[in-house]
Symmetry: C2
Subunit: 335 residues, 2 copies
């Protein structure tokens, strides 16, 4: 769990930032992207979609090849002050603690129970792997799905005091709908856990489980009293981050996307895979978090969602960079 | 490559069987399955589809949950006298031999070049892994796709003297179309190589690459002169056979199929995963090869496509068993 463990660990150490939310109205009847302000960013999206859908045009792409891949954390929903999945893991430790009295004195669990993120960090990668094994493995896939679903129904983001599934970006939801209306198949390809996302992506994003790609642990098929189950094992199967994203995309989709959407250095290789060295129109987009007031502002020096080399690559490769503050009329659905 | 290596190895040792083909006419206008003879087998398919698509009925299944998974070798196309992928590997050794003079005296390559399947068998699993590494790895995914496509365009089955892509079962093609017309999403889940199937499954079966699940080797993302590639490594990533099939289905689809179609013991766990311990209407089907004249007849004692415990399980679990000779009016498209 090294790559994911490290990024989640670092994320956990960030303090919580607080700021007020700004409600904004949106939507122009015939505009497919009403939460996007007019300008070069929005125009680049509309232009790309027009090109690849214009039959007989030089950039026309047949429907079956209209594949678009989206990162999740920081691209479709919030990732500050810590990845939602880390918040889940910490809450699970607290929920399971009564069954594990030994955790009171055993790291990394004691650190979580004491709310001591500094001590959690001190337990290192080994500690975080233990944390994930204790909270993500040791149950069937059906049981884990229920645990995730139940948690999301009650957990609240510390700043916005809302369910995490409401902290998705309204402009990106519109973009997903717009692309699908133009024949695109939309996929998630996230460093986060595939089974952590699947219970809710269809309801929230309109993306079915078979179009979700993510990191995973191994599972084992078993027959239990004539009932088949998949049991979740505490072993890494695949890390869908950085150079792993094109690998995961190839394994799940089997063709190159013609459009990719991310927000951090973890998405660099996915953007390269989608846009470089290929013929025809291609589209890469990076969500740059520039709005500390309405959401968060972070990039090159952030521990979570670090955007540095990918930002430089965007300039070189002519990827669209969303300036959240300037380009998004509205950020969340509830505004 | 142990599991797959063993079954392919055994398959390679079988002699070639010869028999004449029987041309048959087919198709009744309004019948969605014209190549299936009337009877209990065909009725069970029609009945299942009617149940899950009858809105308001007790067995109605929403469209997004209509997932059907199909084995490939022996279920959708021919697998005798040896898996097509093994024929491909043997041909590749011959094609690459001029660049490898050392192969003339080195096993398992010498055995392949001499056409000595007995010596190939003697090289064991280790030999077969070397064979696959030499023919399936060491190139980019795009290069491998071209190699497979070019080979399929010229290779001919030894008995029917036709391209392998014509040796697909007409009744199963009709079944795929029928299920899709009824809102099903059809997937392949094969022990064969995922990248060996994807170049042609969309054209032949109407199944796009993103709905193909199979065994795979690892790949590595690389930027080569600003062009991204995935390089195929000689290391096993996943074996999609037996208890691996539910694991692969879960990883790729993320929900349980409501119908599964196979032909051998390698499909047992997939059929269990699709049909047992779940509510609602479920459908399992096994293609039993019973027609030595028009195709092949094999089951409990066959080295390739062995059907033994799954045949017993079919009786217990009320899975439909296709008696190819009796149930299929027509076997191949060209008849």
């Amino acid at each position: 769990m090294s790559a994911i463990a490290r990024r989640i660990l670092l994320a956990g150490l960030l303090g919580l930032a607080f700021a007020g939310t700004v409600a904004q109205s949106a939507s122009a009847q015939s505009d497919p992207l009403p939460s996007w302000n007019d300008g070069a960013t929005k125009a680049s999206i509309l232009d790309f979609v027009a090109r690849v859908t214009t039959q007989g045009g030089p950039f026309f792409v047949p429907v079956e090849q209209r594949i678009a891949t989206f990162d999740n954390d920081g691209t479709l929903w919030i990732e500050q002050p810590m990845y939602v999945q880390l918040a889940f893991a910490l809450d699970r430790v607290k929920a399971l603690a009564p069954m594990h009295p030994e955790w009171k004195t055993k790291q990394p669990f004691a650190a979580v129970l004491d709310g001591d993120l500094k001590a959690l960090a001190a337990s290192g990668e080994k500690g975080l792997v233990e944390l994930f094994a204790a909270t993500h493995a040791g149950m069937t896939t059906a049981e884990f799905e229920k645990i995730v679903t139940d948690w999301l129904a009650t957990a609240r983001d510390p700043r916005f005091k809302r369910p995490y599934t409401e902290l998705v970006y309204q402009p990106m939801l519109e973009l997903l709908v717009y692309l699908r209306a133009n024949g695109f198949k939309t996929f998630i390809t996230s460093g986060g856990g595939i089974e952590f996302m699947r219970p809710w992506t269809e309801r929230i994003y309109g993306i079915p489980p078979e179009q979700v790609i993510g990191s995973s642990i191994k599972t084992r098929f078993e027959m239990r009293d004539a009932v088949p189950v998949l049991f979740r094992l505490p072993d890494i199967n695949f890390i869908d981050d950085k150079a792993g994203k094109p690998v995961g995309i190839n394994e799940h989709i089997g063709r190159r996307p013609i459009a990719a959407f991310g927000n951090s250095d973890g998405d660099l290789e996915m953007l390269q895979w989608a846009t470089l060295g290929a013929s025809g129109a291609r589209f890469g987009l990076i969500v740059h978090h520039t709005d500390a007031e309405r959401e968060y502002a972070y990039d090159r020096k952030s521990h979570v969602g670090k955007l540095d080399v990918a930002l430089d690559a965007a300039a070189v490769n002519k990827w669209t960079v969303v300036d959240m503050k300037k380009d998004w009329k509205r950020i969340f659905t509830f505004e």
